[in-house]
Symmetry: C2
Subunit: 124 residues, 2 copies
DNA sequence: CGAATGCTGAAGCATGGACTTCAGTATCCG
DNA sequence: CGGATACTGAAGTCCATGCTTCAGCATTCG
């Protein structure tokens, strides 16, 4: 069981979201497409830095971008975010359930778990 | 006005999730509390490494842990995940909306795929 | 008691991330 | 044309992560 998923794409999505600047950029972009300069405006960093953030978001699949003339326009891409969201919702549900039943389980001892945390397992 | 949220706690949550080992550990934990050794079992890393992952998860608020005797037991903590989920849901909704309207804008503005008779009113 | 178990702390190392500066290139504007 | 604009690439710094080994310290068991 315990499938170790090892999903590098999901890694990238969460990593991209783990930065407040990039999250803020996403918020900006939810108002519509923006150029690199427009994205850079609110922050006190160089254009280069913002370009690198865009690359991170693009690698994660969270945005796409296209250059027309000398301006690169960045647009949100909903699919990758949906995947991250699905992971979260699934797992949160799963363990909210568990916490729910915890109330009941506290009365008696639990048994739905194969590795038997309560018993000493000297198998090794 | 575009306010830059700068939320270090949320940073930590997403960063913690940006690692497949830690996500897999969370999956394990959704089956119930586990000791450090039990968490380590499926992976080919040292106990120390797993201890560090647990610390990362704990810093993010995703788990809590308590040591009884010589065994540290790790348990899921749903609240932090709910926060991450809320961020995702909010933003995904926001821009799904936008993409929705985008379809309409394309249809009336520059339409080569007028095949779909978009008679819906997207304003809400 | 002594040995095994379960973890923890300190240190070190390799890699990658976030940022910078500097030097371009391509485009647009007057 | 010439200059401003909008990026882009290369390189370099700095710090955080993820991992290791090794040593140590309680705790539990025979």
């Amino acid at each position: 069981m315990l499938q170790h998923s090892t999903d590098p794409q999901l890694d990238r999505v969460f990593l991209a979201l783990a930065d407040s600047t990039r999250r803020a950029m996403i918020e900006q972009l939810s108002g519509g497409p923006r150029s690199i300069s427009e994205l850079a405006a609110p922050y006190d960093v160089t254009l280069t830095a913002i370009g690198q953030h865009v690359l991170a978001l693009e690698t994660a699949g969270l945005v796409k971008s296209e250059k027309v003339g000398r301006v690169r326009t960045v647009t949100l891409e909903p699919k990758a975010l949906a995947r991250a969201e699905r992971w979260l919702v699934t797992h949160q549900k799963r363990w909210a359930q568990r916490l729910d039943r915890l109330g009941d389980l506290l009365a008696e001892d639990d048994d739905d778990d194969a590795s038997a945390t309560k018993t000493k397992s000297p198998k090794k």
